[in-house]
């Protein structure tokens, strides 16, 4: 019987041990981290599924833990992503300035995550949140930029501060810090206040529209093995708070007649759709592969928000399914890009091309990840998007539907850009020596590929677990699902059948291919160039400004948000300088004036 408290202490202990082990030799340290995360994941999976983790507390008396299906759903996904990514550590750690602290902070943040999702006390939730924030904040600058870590910390801190103020507002009204009771206990204007504060926290952590500046910076510049964790796992914390705010608190504001949805929920859905559109447009324009995937996580965060704010059983199930599918897909994609970056040293699409010839397995991993990310049938992304579409259509939210459809089609565009610019196209001379990623790195890629397909073809087990969550947290009807099919308001989707028929189609095409004559092998440079003799691969590789005509249309508007936040920071500095001038001036007279002002103020005030 695994005890949550022992797991936490085990993690903190193994974090310290891995610190010293990595000081010895980074390979051994990383291997130890792999085993530590594996132990945690296995014990969570073994005992967590049927909810019999022991939550008694002996060594740390002021902590209190409780098991919920919702919490377990998040923990198992994030722990799985941590395990998969830890396989990458042995090969990446030597390049980082403070490599021995890397493993320490990695395991500490995992401990924070397990704690955050297993606690039922608001302050402990905040305790673990803050712990996750500052541990991950120290991991990001090991990559390329310091500014990314500062903006990540700034936005996450705003989020968690809003969360804390919300917690205290609840405490003031309900008098207790219990999560379930607290959220249920509030109503009227305080629930609006708490809803707004919790949504700020959710938007900041999810990296959706208004508070998304840190997302591309942090994911783009984080160390290569850490961005899958950042986008696959840590973004999901925001989703968790989003669920608390959107589902647990009863709907906010007047109900809009046409789509009978509360106004608060509709505003969040609108923000979600804004972030889908904005994320897609920015991703189409992006040249750095990791920043592109960051913007895609932003747009998928928008999907999750739309799903949870649609207040519909299928949308809620679709949202949870999407969290799982997106976590796997974006982790897979980021890991593929990390493998490429390790081999070539850059993630810029301008400098890369033709990676498929040297790294075919990484290519397959990336292909399956983006098929799921774009929501195309055989993979998990399609089922979750299908469920969300059902809810959006059922409610008839037209503007949200425009954004959701734009996002699903646009995601096809920007996921294809790295595929074409990075993997396909001409093979550059300077990457001739590049070899496929080592075996230890391929294990997680294979596992995630398998899982992507599994979530796409057999939705039953996942839908059943989601039904537990629905039963536990909401009053919606559970989603009916047999082994291969999922039924929603507008008809059933037979995922297994689609995969089977797809297989049949490919078989037919393969037969046609085999019957005909064998085609002549021709190397890549021998292409039709209107008979010009071109000898340099770079001239024949089309990857810079891939969607140039599309990008030109919204070139100017794409920097508004960044300018807004820079201006905000600048304004705060201005106020600081003004205050310094007012209060900290060098001549003593100013202080005297302030003293007199206060005295006169008080006398005047009291006397009147």
């Amino acid at each position: 019987m695994a005890n949550i408290e022992y797991l936490l202490l085990f993690l903190v202990g193994s974090a310290v041990i891995s610190y010293f082990l990595t000081r010895l030799n980074s390979f051994i340290g990383s291997i130890f981290t792999i085993f530590a995360t594996m132990f945690v994941f296995v014990s969570l999976a073994a005992y967590g599924f049927n909810m019999n983790l022991d939550t008694t507390v002996s060594l740390l008396p002021w902590f209190s833990f409780s098991q919920t299906y919702l919490g377990f759903f998040f923990v198992i996904i994030i722990a799985f992503i941590y395990l998969m990514v830890s396989f990458f550590h042995p090969y990446f750690l030597d390049k980082y300035p403070y490599k021995n602290s890397y493993n320490l902070l990695f395991l500490l943040s995992l401990a924070g995550i397990i704690g955050a999702f297993y606690t039922d006390h608001f302050l402990q939730l905040f305790f673990f949140f803050e712990m996750i924030i500052w541990t991950t904040m120290f991991l990001i600058p090991q990559g390329k930029s310091r500014e990314a870590a500062v903006s990540y910390f700034g936005f996450s801190l705003t989020g968690s501060v809003a969360l804390l103020i919300g917690i205290f507002v609840i405490y003031q009204n309900v008098g207790r810090f219990d999560i379930q009771a607290g959220l249920a206990g509030i109503s009227g204007t305080t629930s609006v206040f708490v809803f707004v504060l919790f949504m700020i926290a959710a938007l900041a952590k999810l990296g959706t529209f208004p508070l998304h500046i840190w997302l591309p910076l942090a994911h783009g510049n984080a160390p290569h093995p850490f961005s899958p964790v950042l986008s696959g796992a840590l973004v999901k914390l925001g989703a968790f708070i989003g669920i608390l705010a959107l589902i647990k608190i009863n709907p906010i504001g007047p109900v809009i007649g046409a789509i009978d949805l509360a106004l608060g929920q509709y505003i969040i859905a609108f923000i979600g759709s804004l972030s889908i559109v904005f994320g897609t447009l920015m991703a189409i324009k992006e040249d750095d592969a990791k920043k592109l995937l960051a913007y895609s996580s932003m747009s998928h965060g928008g999907y999750i928000l739309v799903a949870f704010s649609a207040l519909n059983g299928f949308a809620f199930a679709g949202g949870l399914y999407h969290i799982l599918a997106h976590a796997l897909a974006s982790a897979g994609a980021f890991m593929a890009i990390a493998a490429v970056a390790r081999a070539t040293g850059t993630t810029k699409m301008k400098e890369l091309g033709g990676m498929i010839h040297k790294m075919p397995i990484t290519y397959l991993a990336y292909l399956i990840a983006i098929i799921s990310m774009a929501g195309i049938p055989p993979m998990g992304g399609f089922i979750s998007k299908w469920l969300i579409f059902q809810a959006v259509i059922d409610r008839g939210m037209i503007l949200i539907a425009v954004a959701v459809f734009f996002g699903s089609v646009g995601s096809f565009l920007y996921v294809f850009r790295p595929l074409a610019a990075l993997f396909l196209g001409q093979e550059f001379r300077e990457y001739k020596h590049v070899k496929e990623a080592p075996l230890l790195m391929l294990i997680p890629t294979f596992i995630i590929m398998g899982l992507n397909i599994y979530t796409g073809v057999i939705p039953k087990q996942i839908i059943d677990f989601i039904n537990n969550i629905i039963g536990e947290n909401t009053a919606f009807a559970p989603v009916v699902a047999t082994t291969f099919t999922v039924t929603a308001t507008y008809g059933t989707l037979n995922a297994g059948l689609i995969a089977l028929i797809f297989g049949v189609g490919v078989a037919i095409a393969f037969i046609i291919f085999i019957l005909m004559k064998k085609s002549r092998k021709v190397e890549l440079m021998d292409t039709y160039t209107a008979a010009n003799f071109v000898h340099d691969e770079h001239l024949l590789h089309y990857s810079v400004d891939f969607y140039a005509p599309l990008e030109r249309m919204y070139e100017k508007q794409s920097h508004w948000m960044k300018k807004f936040y820079d201006a905000l920071a600048h304004k705060v500095k201005e106020v600081g300088k003004l205050a310094k001038y007012l209060f900290m001036s060098n001549n003593i007279g100013v202080t005297l004036i302030w003293i007199l002002v206060i005295i006169v103020l008080l006398i005047g005030v009291v006397a009147l």
Binding site: V150, F168, K573, T591, I598, I599
Partner: protein, 458 residues
Amino acid sequence: MSAVLLIAIPLLAAFISILFKKYSIYLLFAVTIFNIANVFLATEGIIIIGGFSPPLGISLLVDTYSKIALLLVNALVLVIAALNVKAYPKYGTILLLVVAGLNGLVLTNDLFNFFVFLEISGIAAYLITASNKKPITTFRYLVIGAIGSSLFLLGLIILYSMFGTLNMVDMIKEIALNNNYQELVLPFTLMFIGLGVEAKLLPFNSWVKGILGHSNTFSGPMIASVYASAMGFVLGRFITNLFNFEGMLLTVVLVILVAGIVLSDIMAFASKKSREILLFSSVAQASMIALLFVNGIIIWAVYLIIANALSKTVMFMIINKAQKDVGSDEVKSLQGLFANNLVIGIIFTIATLSVMGLPLLVGFTIKLNFLTELADAGQIWTIAFILIASVVEGIYFVKLLLKLWYPEGNLIKVNYHLSFKLVFAIIALALLTFGVYQAPLDKLDNTVDTVMEVVNNG
């Protein structure tokens, strides 16, 4: 071993140490160790000196609150003096004066006597800041300090004229009888401003930028942690017992304090020099402490004073030592300070994280608890402002930390003496253990300050 020795011995030693200059610093060590020992042995309660009855005679009040203050002040002075024994050997006598003055401040129950000790410690402070080699800033500090203490005296005189007694306990009894609060506003404001100047509250502390901005490894910690914590304790005692603000006065004081927190954090956000960042952060902490006392959260204010004093000593010492070796305290020029002294880096990070109030460190538990208490007191807007200020604080501290951790261009050569590392490691360890293991913090509670007890039952 009555508490009077805590004041008498240092004074006596101060005069003796003038005779043999070289050994004055070792005399200081002896006196502070004696004081620390004496604090544990001292008997609690009111101590009358010279047999005069309350309205005239000088009396001391000893309770756990003042014991904690004494312990903190003497320990810090010992540590700081020990660490700077090579750099600043000749400050033995002045330090003895400091110890005498601050002990007096904390212990005295007689308001006029409080003013006297305020003057003694002020003079000692001016002499210490003289070591900054920046006479203009010390002069500015001297003038504002003098104004502050004279305002305090003016307030005291008004009170004396109204109630005829100088003894704090009697004064509180008299005030309790007098029902007209209008008259008390003027003296309380004057005394609050007088103490505010010394305790670095926002509108009155323009001297802090000059003093701490050009501080060194000796004057920085002394002003930023020893004096700050002493004045914090004293201000706390006055606010909770004497002033008990109410009505319009309370709102104005609250506005001053909250504005103090938010504005000083924003000023820190806007400053480029690392020492300026630290000094504005300590100004913010001072206003926070005063705010807690105003809301009657005594025990968490005490812990905040202790934690802030310890972390500020560590941070000021590290930054000042680096500034001395590098020459300028611009954050750009200190870039990559921790690249090759890792231990110091970890210690500085732990101290900063504790000041910011992040988990696993004592700062977090303190912040969470005093916010809960504020929530109990129904002050949601104050919580909101404190937390918004903590966001700004978080951002500028993280910017500072990341600049210090990650070098750009050539590495700077700063080495710290082993003693530095040892002492700071102990402090950092304390911050960490009390962050994780919170049981001991819950042993004490608001009854630490027994002034009201003494007032009620004689």
